[in-house]
Amino acid sequence: MTRSSDRPPWGAIAVFLLPALVVYTALTAYPVVRTFWNSLHKVLPNRPDEFVGLANYATLLFSDDTFWRSVRNTLVWACASPLFEVGIALLLALALYAKVPGSRFFRIAWFTPVLMSYVVVGILWVWIYNYDWGAVNALLRLLGLDTWTRAWLGKPETALPALIFVTTWMWTGFNMVVLLASLHSLPSEVIEAAELDNCGWGAKLWHVIIPLVKPTLLNLLVLSFIGKMKIFDLVWITTKGGPLWSTETVSTYLYKRAFEWSTFDLGYPSTIAAVWFVIIMTCVLVLTRVLRTRDRLEY
């Protein structure tokens, strides 16, 4: 460190840090605190907040079926997505790693979906899933599988899987690019040695490659999990939580309670936010703690 460490120039530090701290305090820290405060109150417009203690929490946790339905949907999404996204991405990254011609092009093309807003993606997939002329049903009819055609987003049984498919389509390319970078940073001798040992493709994948890229894999799994715990935009554009709550996520339910349903109370939705915030932060802490302390592989 430099000599300035003897006596920090507080004046300069204040000037450099103050704008960021003001923004952070006013528009991040304060809203978080205010949300927790809200969660203990009945918050109606043009009226002083009325303290209700833990009543909101009690209602939410013990008698709000819609909330639990949304929690279940969100957890299904958050647990299924990482496996698909990261699993398929690993296979694709290995395929590109095998030095196929045009790998640079593939990499750039596959990354594209994550650069698009969920609004654009949502509308595209509403069309793709359209019953009469969507690409999915058109393909099924082409293959003579007319009995399989259905309104994919209109049926409670298929709506959530259909949306999970969309996020998988969107994020697989991103995971692939990250994994490819991680594969390229490995010493090639290790992978070549496995080739010499003449072990099968599956064994090589399981015993050599996966352990080597494990830190990256775990990061991506956690990332995908957290992303789905927060998902809102895609659902809002495609199904608004329907049909019959089958795609309701915690975020969309919170939005409805705060800004759509004319209950006007901002206290109860704040309780949803507070509970979900605590759950997400706990998941992050637990997952990073559990996954990080595992021994790193030496090579």
Binding site: I13, F16, A20, V119, L124
Partner: protein, 273 residues
């Protein structure tokens, strides 16, 4: 022989996946050049003849010029503020050793994983209180706050790698702390700054949740809101919606065409989010 077959099979799989990944966009791009009547006749037809006039139509008749201008002004302003405020904070945190340094860093860093839901309701209340609800200024400020943690995080790790000797030399030459930042740190950090600028531009250009909560006026809608609105009003007009989608996508595609590596780098660095 099997090697060649294997290679060919691999290439086939990769090509199929590419069609799957890019197909929806190509479909939308084709529909954006066809009228809705043409589309209803054959949904997967080629755009022949291409109706380029649909772009000026959407731009002038369906308010897309307004949405685009709103998005552009919010994103440009927010990214400019973010870059300067974020760089100053990152410079300070990586360069000076002072009591509370790591505490401030941890505070800002931990906000990266905050779900937006924890702030959205209170932000709505706060902006209403200060008359910034339903205003592009309010949305811009919120965008600065939303992207600040990630920006500081990316920049801090870059600034921390600038050798301290450089600053000592600058101080010998009589530079003030303020001019050290502008004349030493800032120019050296340009590659990292470019990464955050491009990343923030794309993320904010696509942002939907904060916009949908904080903006209701037709004249203040950003592009994602405008598209959603248009989709709700003109559900049947598939051709025109596709044109609107393309208007939102084209800037992103242009940025990606010129800065693909930088953007991939930024997105993956921002992967912590």
């Amino acid at each position: 022989m099997t090697a060649i077959l294997g290679r060919a099979f691999l290439l086939l799989v990769l090509t199929l996946y590419t069609a799957f990944a890019a197909g929806p966009f190509i479909w939308a791009a084709m529909m954006s050049l066809r009228t809705t009547t043409e589309i209803s006749n054959s949904h997967f037809g080629l755009p022949l003849p291409a109706h380029w006039e649909k772009f000026p139509q959407a731009w002038f008749n369906s308010n897309y010029s307004v949405y685009f201008a709103n998005s552009a002004s919010v994103v440009v302003t927010a990214v400019a503020i973010l870059t300067i405020v974020g760089a100053m904070a990152a410079h300070c945190l990586s360069r000076y050793r002072f009591a509370g340094n790591r505490f401030v860093y941890f505070l800002i860093f931990s906000a990266i994983i905050f779900p937006p839901q924890i702030t959205i309701i209170a932000l709505f209340q706060t902006l209403v209180n200060y008359g910034l609800y339903n205003s592009l200024v309010g949305l811009t400020l919120v965008y600065v706050a939303v992207q600040l943690p990630l920006t500081v995080y990316i920049l801090e790790s870059f600034f921390a790698r600038i050798p301290g000797d450089l600053f000592d030399a600058a101080r010998m030459d009589g530079y003030s702390e303020w001019s050290i930042f502008w004349k030493v740190s800032f120019p050296i950090a340009l590659p990292a700054l470019a990464t955050t600028v491009i990343l923030n531009t794309i993320l904010l250009w696509n942002e939907f949740l904060y916009a949908v909560v904080l903006i209701t006026d037709e004249a203040k809608r950003t592009l994602p809101l405008g598209i959603q609105r248009f989709m709700g009003d003109q559900l049947e007009d598939v051709g025109m919606i596709a044109t609107g989608l393309m208007i939102a996508i084209i800037p992103v595609v242009l940025i990606y065409a010129f800065f693909s590596e930088k953007l991939i780098q930024g997105m993956t660095a921002g992967a912590v989010k």
